[in-house]
């Protein structure tokens, strides 16, 4: 009995450390933060962090895994009922806006992160790309949109979002860049991909 409750306690602490990690890495970044500051933010001793995560990388990867699970579930739920190209763009944008601080860090520091962390982001984006491809094909077949190679269509949209996210401090200081610029970005992207006759 005692053993089980100690394990429960350990699991609860670990979950709390992950929650702190989500805010901590979003605010401080991955490259320029250390476990001593993380321990302070979590209100535990430096050694206690390593009782739960043997290395700094293990902590970062665990936090990224949890973030990936949440982002992925949120994207799936948001895109599920969207049958239009614009609807999927807006659903994608809305979820990224909800997760913006942490996601923006991933965009800014992605190439410096361990390959498993990078692959996580790419696998999440794979599902968005696939969804976008399905609705784009349907709209192209209906004559409303030009045809594109699916990966280029998605990468062009993502490049737009990521550019604003990577430079969010200058595009929208002190606020969510996707809230401030989201409508403009969606309208611009639709303008690029829609056929001339369909443009208002």
């Amino acid at each position: 009995m005692r053993q089980a409750s100690r394990k429960e306690q350990k699991d609860a602490t670990q979950r709390r450390l992950v929650e702190v990690g989500l805010d901590f890495f979003a605010a401080r970044g991955f490259a320029n933060s250390n476990t001593a500051d993380f321990a302070k933010a979590a209100g535990v001793s430096h050694g206690a962090v390593f009782l739960h995560f043997p290395t700094r990388e293990a902590l970062v990867l665990r936090v990224l895994d949890v973030f990936g699970d949440r982002l992925s579930a949120a994207l799936k739920a948001a895109m599920q009922g969207e049958a239009s190209f614009e609807g999927v763009l807006r659903a994608h944008l809305g979820v990224l806006r909800d997760y913006e601080p942490f996601y923006a860090r991933l965009v800014q520091e992605g190439p410096l992160l361990p390959i498993r962390a990078r692959s996580l982001l790419f696998i999440i984006n794979a599902s968005v790309s696939h969804r976008l491809k399905l609705v784009a094909e349907a709209e192209a077949a209906a004559g409303a949109m030009r045809k594109f190679a699916p990966h280029l269509l998605f990468n062009t949209w993502l490049a737009l979002l990521h550019y604003y996210l990577a430079n969010r401090d200058v595009f929208a200081p002190g606020e969510s860049v996707l809230s401030a610029k989201g409508d403009e970005l969606v309208a611009h992207f639709l303008d690029l991909v829609r056929k001339e006759a369909e443009k208002p």
Binding site: A73, R116, F122, N125, A126, A149, L152
Partner: protein
């Protein structure tokens, strides 16, 4: 708070509907993409190939880089984490 659905123990694919599971059976630990018609787990190389192709097709990732990324993800999955040299 989102509800976490069961994910494939081989590739991490989220399995929600019965048809997502091997043999259409929600008690199976792996998804339909990672298993053969009898529900048996496919060889590692096949699963790796399928996952890597996903990166290539959806985002135009270089095939070798896609393989390295897929291998990095599979290395933490229950089906493959004890595999020597992931």
């Amino acid at each position: 708070m989102t509800l976490k659905c069961v994910s494939c123990g081989s590739c991490g694919f989220p399995m929600e509907k019965p048809e997502d599971f091997a043999l259409g059976d929600p008690s199976q630990p792996y998804c339909r993409y990672c298993t053969d018609r009898a529900g048996a787990l496919l060889p590692y190389e096949d699963v790796l190939e399928t996952n890597a192709r996903h990166y290539v097709e959806t985002q135009g990732v270089n095939p070798e880089a896609a393989k390295a990324m897929a291998a990095a993800l599979l290395a933490s999955m229950p089906a493959w984490r004890d595999r020597p040299h992931a």
